[in-house]
C-alpha cells in the first residue's frame, strides 16, 4: 500500500511521480526524474490536489510514500512541519499571502529531506500574486519543491507554466469510479454505476451523490428545470428557483461556519463579550470580508455544478438525436430525454450546450448570477 494508491485511474502519472521519488532519494542521480517545480493539471475531481499531496508525502517519507508512517499521515492531514498546503475557500489567493509564504519557503526542511509547498488552487492566484512567485519557483532553495495545481494549463500565467514540469491527470473512467465507490465506500454497484456517470468523472461529486440524499434531490430538481420551460415567464421562474436554491444552500452551509469563526476570533482577541483588545474589531471586519467572498464563491460553485448537470442533459439529448441510447448519463430521465430529443433539431441542441458553456465562463468572470441564469433559461427555452 503506497500513498499513490489513493489516485484513481492515473497509472502514467503515478509512474512519473514514483520515478521522481526514487531519484530524489539518490544523491548521485543523473536521470533528472526529479525537479523543483511541478504543475498538476486535470479536470475537477480527477484528484490533482490528491496527487500533489501524495507526492509531497512520498518526498518527506523515509520509505518513499508508505502511507503508514508519521510523515505520510501528517502530510495527508496537512500538519507536517515541512509540507505547506495553500488553498482558499474564497475567490482568490492574494499577494500578501504569497509574500509571506515566500520567505518561509526557502527555509531548510526541519525533519525530512524536502520542504514541499503545495498550492492547491494555483488558478486562483491573482496576477500579482503569481508574479511574486516567479522568482522563487525558478530558483527555489536547495531542498524546496513547489507543487502547483490547476484545472488546465491556461489557468496559470505562461511565465509560471514555463518554470514547472507539467503533469496532466486524466478524467477517471466511469468504471474506475464505480469500482472505487463499491470497494471503498460500500456503495451498491447499481447506484455506483449511475453516480459515476452523473458526476462526469468527478470522484468527490460521485461519492457525494451516492451518499447524500439532499445532493441527489438537488440534482433532480435542477434537471427538472428544462422540462418546465414553456413561455418566458416560466423561464424566469426557473431561473429564480435555481438561483435561490443556490443562495439557500450557500447560506445554510456558511452561516454556522461564519458564526463559529467569528466567536473564535473574538476569543483570540481577548474577549467573549463586547470588549476587544485594540485591533480586534479590524481583524473581525477582515474575517467578515473573507467570509463574504467565500459565500459568493459557494453560490458560484453551486451554479457551476448546476450548469454542468444541465450540460449532461443536453449531451444526452444530442446523443439520442444522433441515434444512440447506450451511454446516456441521465438514465433516470430516459423517457423525457427522448421526448425532448424528438421535439427539436440537433443544431438547436448544440446551440444550447454552447450557451450553457458560455454561461459557465461568464459566471467565473463575476457575472450577475440571476441575469445570467435568466438569459440562459431564455436560450434553453
Amino acid at each position: 500500500m503506497s500513498v499513490f494508491s489513493s489516485l484513481i485511474d492515473q497509472t502514467e502519472v503515478i509512474k512519473v511521480l514514483q520515478e521522481a521519488v526514487m531519484a530524489s532519494r539518490n544523491n548521485s542521480d543523473t536521470t533528472q526524474a526529479m525537479t523543483h517545480a511541478w504543475l498538476f493539471t486535470g479536470p475537477p475531481g480527477s484528484g490533482r490536489s490528491n496527487a500533489a499531496v501524495a507526492f509531497a508525502a512520498a518526498l518527506v517519507c523515509k520509505e518513499g510514500g508508505c502511507s503508514k508512517c508519521n510523515d505520510c499521515m501528517s502530510t495527508i492531514t496537512g500538519s507536517h512541519a515541512d509540507v505547506e498546503l495553500i488553498k482558499t475557500e474564497g475567490l482568490s489567493i492574494k499577494i500578501d499571502e504569497i509574500r509571506e509564504l515566500i520567505s518561509r519557503a526557502s527555509w531548510a526542511p526541519s525533519v525530512s529531506n524536502w520542504r514541499v509547498v503545495v498550492i492547491e488552487d494555483a488558478d486562483r492566484l491573482t496576477d500579482s500574486a503569481a508574479n511574486a512567485l516567479l522568482k522563487v519557483i525558478e530558483e527555489p532553495g536547495l531542498r524546496t519543491v513547489w507543487l502547483l495545481c490547476a484545472p488546465t494549463l491556461t489557468d496559470v500565467l505562461p511565465t509560471i507554466r514555463s518554470r514547472c514540469r507539467h503533469l496532466s491527470l486524466r478524467t477517471p473512467s466511469t468504471k474506475a469510479i464505480s469500482n472505487l465507490l463499491v470497494t471503498r465506500d460500500g456503495v451498491d454497484p447499481k447506484v455506483a454505476d449511475f453516480v459515476a456517470r452523473a458526476s462526469g468523472g468527478h470522484i468527490g461529486r460521485a461519492r457525494y451523490l451516492a451518499t447524500d440524499a439532499s445532493a441527489k434531490e438537488n440534482r433532480e430538481n435542477i434537471l427538472r428545470l428544462p422540462f418546465m420551460l414553456k413561455d418566458i415567464a416560466s423561464a424566469f421562474t426557473a431561473a429564480q428557483v435555481l438561483v435561490e436554491s443556490a443562495k439557500k444552500e450557500a447560506l445554510t452551509d456558511s452561516e454556522k461556519k461564519d458564526e463559529v469563526e467569528i466567536s473564535k476570533l473574538k476569543q483570540a482577541w481577548g474577549s467573549t463579550g463586547s470588549k476587544l483588545v485594540a485591533g480586534g474589531s479590524k481583524a473581525i471586519k477582515e474575517l467578515e470580508k473573507e467570509q463574504k467572498s467565500r459565500s459568493t464563491r459557494m453560490v458560484r460553485d453551486y451554479l457551476d455544478r448546476a450548469l454542468l448537470d444541465l450540460a449532461t442533459l443536453y449531451r444526452d439529448i444530442l446523443l439520442v438525436q444522433s441515434g444512440s441510447t447506450d451511454s446516456l448519463i441521465n438514465q433516470d430521465l430516459t423517457d423525457q430525454i427522448k421526448k425532448l430529443a424528438a421535439s427539436q433539431s440537433p443544431e438547436k441542441t448544440l446551440k444550447k450546450i454552447e450557451a450553457i458553456l458560455k454561461a459557465r465562463i461568464n459566471l467565473a468572470q463575476n457575472a450577475a448570477p440571476l441575469l445570467l441564469i435568466e438569459a440562459l433559461m431564455c436560450e434553453l427555452r
Binding site: 413561455d231 441575469l371 435568466e374
Partner: protein, 319 residues
C-alpha cells in the same frame, strides 16, 4: 441633571451639507477656539479621552466627533465618562447619521438636554425645491419656479452641489434681477441627471434615441455602468414575470404571487404591448452578454452599453 446646555451639541441625520453648516455655525460662537475633528471609524481607544481632557491654560476648545454611530463600545464609554464631568471651556459636537447603531449613547446624551439640530436627508423634489428657495431667501435673491425645477433636474442628487450652484447664481447674476431658467441654463447647460431606470424606461417603451441620450447623461453624471445594467435587467424581469399572468386578473391580487407592487404590474402591462415572447428573450440574452462585457469581456464598457441598447431596442416589435 447637569446644567450645561452650551457645551453639548447633537446633530442627527445623514445630510453632510446641513451638518457641516451646523458645525460651522456653532463653531463661530467661539472664534478663538481650537477645533479638533474626530472621525469615529478611525478612532483608537484613548484618543477621545485625550481630546476631552482639560486644557492646561483653560483655552476654549471645540471637539467634533463625526459618525458617532460608528463609535466602538469602548470609545462610547469614554464619551459617557466625560459627560459625567463636563468641562465648561469645551464644546462637544456629536454628529450621528441616524439608524439604530450607537443609539444607546445618543439616548444618554439626549437626557443631558443638548442643543439638537436636524440634518435629515433631502430626498423628495418638493423638499429640494424648498431647500433651494430657502437658500435664495438667505442670499436675498428671487428665483422663478421654472429655474428651481431646472436646478433640481441638473444637480438634484447632491445637496452640496445644489447649495454651491445657488450661491454661484446669486453672486453672478445681476443684482435685483429675478433668477430665471436662462440663468440656470447658462451655468448648468446640458447637464441632466438621469438614472439607470430612466434609461430602462426609455428602452422598454422603444424610445431608442431618448434611451441613448439618457444613457450618456447617466454616465456623464457618474452612474456606474453596472447599475444601469441591473436597472435594465430588473425592468425586463418585471415584464417577463407579468407576461405570464392572465390580463384579466386584478393587479392587487397578483401582487403577492408575483412579489411586485400593483403599480409596477400595471405599468408593465402597458409596456408589454410592444413586446413579444421572442423579443423579450432576445433582450434578456443581449443584457446578459452586456453584463459580461462591462465586467471585462469588452474593451470599452460605454460602447458595449450603447450597442446593447440598440440591440435590445430593436428586439422590441420582433414577432
Amino acid at each position: 441633571m447637569v446644567e450645561n446646555q452650551v457645551g453639548l451639541v447633537l446633530i442627527q441625520g445623514p445630510e453632510a451639507l446641513l451638518a457641516d453648516r451646523v458645525i460651522t455655525n456653532v463653531s463661530s460662537r467661539f472664534p478663538n477656539a481650537q477645533i479638533s475633528n474626530l472621525h469615529a471609524d478611525e478612532l483608537e481607544v484613548g484618543v477621545i479621552t485625550d481630546s476631552l481632557a482639560p486644557s492646561l491654560f483653560g483655552d476654549q476648545r471645540i471637539v467634533v466627533i463625526r459618525d458617532t454611530q460608528d463609535l466602538t463600545a469602548e470609545c462610547a464609554d469614554e464619551v459617557l465618562a466625560y459627560l459625567e464631568d463636563e468641562d465648561s471651556n469645551l464644546l462637544l459636537v456629536l454628529w450621528h447619521k441616524g439608524g439604530v447603531k450607537g443609539k444607546g449613547l445618543i439616548d444618554k446624551v439626549k437626557r443631558l438636554q443638548p442643543e439638537v439640530f436636524s440634518a435629515e436627508a433631502i430626498k423628495k423634489d418638493s423638499e429640494k425645491a424648498e431647500f433651494i428657495r430657502s437658500e435664495f431667501k438667505v442670499l436675498g435673491r428671487k428665483i422663478t419656479t421654472e429655474a428651481v425645477q431646472a436646478l433640481i433636474d441638473s444637480l438634484g442628487s447632491d445637496l452640496r452641489e445644489l447649495g454651491a450652484a445657488c450661491s454661484q447664481l446669486a453672486s453672478d447674476v445681476a443684482l435685483q434681477k429675478t433668477i430665471d431658467q436662462d440663468d440656470v441654463a447658462k451655468y448648468q447647460q446640458g447637464r441632466v441627471e438621469s438614472t439607470g431606470f430612466d434609461v430602462a424606461d426609455a428602452v422598454v417603451d422603444g424610445r431608442t434615441a431618448e434611451a441613448l441620450i439618457s444613457l450618456r447623461n447617466a454616465l456623464a453624471t457618474g452612474t456606474d455602468p453596472v447599475l444601469i445594467v441591473s436597472a435594465l435587467a430588473s425592468s425586463f424581469r418585471t415584464l417577463a414575470k407579468v407576461s405570464g399572468s392572465s390580463k384579466g386578473l386584478n393587479p392587487y391580487e397578483l401582487a403577492s404571487s408575483l412579489a411586485l407592487p400593483p403599480w409596477q404590474i400595471e405599468k408593465a402591462r402597458r409596456q408589454l404591448s410592444g413586446w413579444s415572447e421572442s423579443g423579450l428573450s432576445k433582450a434578456v440574452i443581449a443584457l446578459a452578454a452586456l453584463d459580461a462585457d462591462i465586467k471585462g469581456a469588452a474593451a470599452d464598457p460605454k460602447y458595449a452599453l450603447e450597442r446593447a441598447l440598440m440591440t435590445v431596442s430593436s428586439a422590441r416589435g420582433t414577432r
